[in-house]
Symmetry: C2
Subunit: 347 residues, 2 copies
DNA sequence: TTCCTCTAGTAAAACGATACACCGCAACAA
DNA sequence: TTGTTGCGGTGTATCGTTTTACTAGAGGAA
């Protein structure tokens, strides 16, 4: 491997000069143009590539950001990641992503790895099943700039980005209401997720405002720790079995919505003609579903880039030794109307 | 940040001893047990975390592997990535993934970044649109252990992992044949992809063997550079418009298959009753589609772990200065039968 | 002349680890 | 006594950069 010393020797200048020139910083303006072009030429010709380890070691800056995702195969994570990357690209901060492989016990090893690499900050994509107060408070204790995406913990001083769940479900039910639906079934999310409660509150408050009656028999709840296709399917079957003639269904998320659509189809009901279905998340596949799913778009990319922006601020603040309060941002979701909803059949 | 010197000072031993103990290598057996536990205790108490930059700089080993993916939001990439990670976890090699964000011009910047980080090898997940001979031959020129997943280039000395496309489509059409289908429509992949040709050859050879007649009017081809939902949908519509009463459809990939199913459904045809549909890839969403898709499972995770295994071998070989021939592995895909296929209606 | 400033660079000390050669001492054999 | 071996470590150079402080020489002013 060719080092800066090789470039220095070959060009006839000192390593200091070479370093100044190649870093193109303000210091390099003190070097004559002739010298500069000469050094650049030699560097290119030798195929010189600075060793980032040596650089970071000396300069005490890694220009690196840790990102912890709970499952890299989950589109939820990858879309947020995309937002982070897009935002970071021009900033010279490189994201190092670690994947928990859906296994919470990997959190500490991953953190160790990132801290060993001297990341300047950490973004965590929250999985509420793994991410508890204790883990998060480590960040503030160690004084590491950190942002959590997907969850807000009031009592832990860590910045966060979350979606406004209630606003999302309000849009969903508003849409159904506008289409003339009044007998609406619901599949609520698991109790342990705060999202479940927030989404439900959005639905409930709107229903109350406009006077939609919520029939307890039409409200089922996911019992597992997270939503699965299997359980969504079974809950939808249960609703159908009850034969309570609902004309629309609001599912906790897209996965559940797709499962419900499948169950309805299997039962001989057409979506949306016999029953409209609304999801939540707008995962990439939802636009291609049969039928394309009307759902609440979470703006995951935006959440990612907001998170990246926040961590940049935190890092800047830390570099300038400036104290900074944790910030909490909430993004507004947007309903995307596709083909899984239509006007209620007039009974 | 606490350094090894702090641990040495605090424990009363030299940095050398601390280093040997904490690395727990064979050298540490020469140190007494009392000393070892003492040093471990101090290290833990101080929260010592070795600086990987310093370590790599001195030891000239980064224990790091570069992975270039063309689009991190594509399940094709993330599943392969999962396989790589699972294989690498115990080996102490850490994958640094860079995302081209579906933009071929990012390849060189990414490569530079990885080489600057002194990765010991590189795995590229091939996107045939970006990845050409020139880029790949850089690896062998620079003598960097490299593996390409998803494409095999005979004339470039780079190891590769690919799927046996023809074997996959043979299984698909065999399945339809066994169900009694003989009028089968096809949507072929784009010409620029080798996969398209290989998959087609598998279909053609089987059809010839068992005497299925291939009607040119039932064979359409994707004109774009890669498959899209839009084009799949339109091609399926075109097939339907022709009214040639096919009872089954083999799509180039799952995306196309889903688009076709949607088009069939919109046209009032039921899948699979009126028309069976088979895809290729088995992306995660396919199992949840409406109806769940019969498709050819590519074993992407396996491809990833095979790639990881190969790169490990290459790195080992390079470390021992042992020359090694590029290897090419082909994984056998497996048909997964779900609900988008059923026996042909007897006409 | 002497002093100062500016230009265009250079020398040497870090950064935090690992690698390599070495060392003092005890035990034991010749 | 002398030499050898094993045990339990230690001292110092080194990895490839950046940073800080410094310098030789030119030019101009007093």
């Amino acid at each position: 491997m060719v080092t800066i010393r090789d470039v220095a020797g070959q060009s006839g200048f000192s390593v200091t000069t070479v370093s100044m020139v190649l870093n193109a910083g303000p210091a390099s303006s003190r070097i004559s143009a002739r010298t500069r072009t000469r050094i650049w030429k030699v560097a290119k010709q030798l195929g010189y590539r600075p060793n980032l380890y040596a650089r970071s070691l000396r300069s005490r800056r890694s220009h690196t950001l840790g990102v912890v995702v709970f499952d890299l195969t989950d589109p939820y994570c990858t879309q947020i990641l995309r937002g982070i990357q897009n935002h970071l690209r021009p900033s010279g901060l490189f994201p190092i992503v670690t994947d928990l492989l859906d296994d919470g016990s990997q959190f500490h090893p991953c953190l160790d790895m990132l801290l060993g690499r001297r990341v300047e900050g950490i973004i965590t994509i929250a999985n509420p099943l793994y991410l508890d107060r204790k883990l998060l408070s480590e960040f503030s204790e160690r004084n590491i700039p950190a942002v959590v995406i997907g969850r807000e913990l009031a009592d832990v001083p860590v910045s966060s980005v979350v979606v406004d769940n209630a606003a999302g479900t309000r849009q969903a039910i508003q849409h159904l209401y506008d289409l003339g639906h009044s007998r609406i079934a619901f599949i609520k999310g698991p109790k342990i997720l705060v999202d479940s409660l927030q989404r439900w509150q959005g639905l409930e408050s709107f229903a109350e405002e406009v006077g939609i009656r919520l029939d307890p028999k039409l409200i089922l709840e996911i019992k597992g720790r997270n939503s699965t296709y299997r359980e969504g399917y079974e809950l939808a079957e249960e609703l159908i079995r009850q034969r309570s003639d609902f004309t629309a269904l609001v599912a906790f998320d897209d996965l559940t919505a797709c499962a419900a659509i499948r169950a309805l189809t299997k039962a001989g009901l057409q979506v949306p003609k016999d029953c409209s279905v609304v999801g939540f998340d707008d995962v990439p596949g939802s636009a291609f579903y049969n039928p394309p799913l009307t759902t609440v778009h979470q703006q995951l990319e935006l959440q990612g880039s907001l998170g990246a922006e926040m961590i940049e601020d935190l890092i800047r603040a830390a570099a300038e030794n400036r104290p900074v309060e944790p910030k909490h941002r909430k993004v507004s979701p947007k309903l995307v109307v596709r083909d899984s909803t239509c006007p209620a059949r007039s009974s």
